[in-house]
Amino acid sequence: MTTARSDAAVGEEPAAPAKPAGPADRRERERLRRRAARRRGGGWWPYVFLAPWFAGLFGLTIYPMLDSLYLSFTDFDLLTPARWIGARNYTHMFSDDPVFWDSVHATLLYVAVSVPLKLALALGVALLLNRPLKGIGVYRAAFYLPSLLGGAVAVAIVWRQVFGGDGLFNDFLGWFGIKGQDWISSPDTSIYTLILLAVWQFGTPMVIFLAGLKQLPKDVYEAAAIDGAGTLTRFFRITLPLLTPIVFFNLVLQIIDGFKTFTPAYVVSNGTGGPLDSTMLYSLYLYKKGFTDLQMGYASALAWVLFLVIAGFTAVNFVASRYWVHYDD
């Protein structure tokens, strides 16, 4: 409404002046008139340019989500029409499906261990790389590299080879006379190989930390140095508090990412989630249910539970952040 009125005002303006119209005035009037016309008549143009985005939002996000919400109340098997079964998928999940709980357990363990380690490592390396060293760009690139390979299937395959019974890791242990085991296919260690893989890919949070460190005000450090603050004091009293918004941002993102992890678990366990469901991350279980066991209705219910859990964790994060995240302003 306000824009419309100001448009009108602009449009009327040319009629107001009483001075004889010089060439400069005419040019000015012409310019204003054209701008007004553009504003009035072109109101829908932005939406044309936004249309692909809207199509994406509704066609690829909102509609499928609502559809999957509907399917989560059916016994849809992908091949024959869906049949409404009420909340049975949800009650089955919580009361009657041991593998569901195995996958919850594996996923929570995965997130709870990998995220803090990953962030700590990312921050540590970012501090090291935040120095005016010769060839620093090369180091930064080298540390970021594993993350570029990120979800790649190839890395997960390499992981299988490295931590398998006759893999490189056991060869390495062999130099010290330690007899290794098959880390991937032992139910007590397999999930930790996935966690290690996640931690190894710390590049993305590292780059964000690095950007954050560059923003920190130099004068504060100078003042602290004058007051005789040591490295540790400076880190805990200045760097970390000033960096909390960045820590928070990384934490939220990594938790969400952690809950959604699929590729490494799928590849490392050969699509089985084994041994004994120890690497059955939630997304992998969901995939197996939908596409292998032909229980797409159940898979949709699993997807919604995951969605709600992630939303819950994120909300808790935001609430908790009030107590430990410090913003400048």
Binding site: F262, T272, L276, T292
Partner: protein, 443 residues
Amino acid sequence: MGHQISRRTLFRTASGLAVTGALGPALTACAGGTGAGSDHGSLTMTWWGSDERHAAYQKALATFGKNNPKIKVETRYSGYDGYFDKFNTQVAGGSAPDLLQMDTALVAQYARKGILAPLDSYVGKSLDLTGFSKTLLAAGTVDGKLYGVPSGIGVNQLTVNRSGLERLGLKLPGREWTWNDLKKIATDVYRKSGGRIYGVDDGGGSTLQCFEIFAREKGQPFFSDDGRKLGFTADTLQEWWEFWTGMRTDHACPPPAITSAAHNDLTKNAVVIGKALFTFDSGVYGAGGSITDAQLDFLPTPQGDFAGAREGNFVNGGVLLSATRASKKVADSVKIMDFFAQDPTAIKDMRLLRGIPPTEKARSLISAGLNDTDKRNMAMADYLSRRVTKASDALPAPVPPPQGANRIWDLLFQSNLAVAFGKKTIKAQLSEFFDQAQNILAG
């Protein structure tokens, strides 16, 4: 009506995306890229297998194309891993292949859901099944209708690393051997190799070539005829798991980490990695291609040596060729099935790559061109199918397994592993297995 159908199609297409949408990009790789249209005049055919099998299919289809220039065949192939995941997605998206290689273990599920085209009306006309035995055709028959043409005879054979056995100074057991003979020779392998090699891969959780036959020796099928229940008793499974627990204690079979690593991965099979000399996984040879340099030999699955033991082995259909019901080219697909079933060049091209050829005529056609190992394989299959046919006490060949069967087999595998890793006692795992299996079959 038309409107309704199109809405349903839309529904199905979106469903794959639905899960994806909620999960973000993690799954897009799985859902995307499968939209293979099959309505562009050419017929789409898919199969899984080894490189050798791919090449053989291609070669045979080239000949078919020459004789049938009007039928254009577009081929897609992969390993077994993910093959049916992809097929499910394609069916849901309305872009299923016209003709596909089908697993005998899954044919009933797809037939009952109305995905596959019944072939009976073509048999004797454009589909010539002369020479196919009734037991063989049973592999593709669901509720009395034919949904798939068997590619060959599949029998349950153990693959043996014969040269490895000879190096240890051990002799190949005779064909009429028992579970106790297996235990004895497998223990000998461990002892004679100085503890470097175990005897046989852990069969406690393998279904098809192993436990199913053991149960049938006791007169119990794996699934009841209507597919709604398990056909074997808890006592039978308990005895089975106790046998394999004993095998592990004696180092006759490898520890669970090796067994677990080989799950879904032929390249980690105990025989392939040189940790055992006997394997129940026939994929080591044949469909999987020869991955081991050793000289291979073959033995039937052992027999029970208790009183009243019955013939447990049976003949099934290798793999099947099936057409999808929604396809507009079922008649053309049938022509290709007929070509693979009867055409001499196709039979020669496929050799043993889809099992032992189904007919006497086909077997004699290829026998000249076989290598030594192929010959041994065929001879053993021939011997075994004769023995099964002659046996008066054998159960009829198993009916095509019900929906959920693959989940039950996976459950069996995981259960055996839980026992092997010492996470569960046999008793506790037994009741869990039966509870879960019941749940799946009722589901």
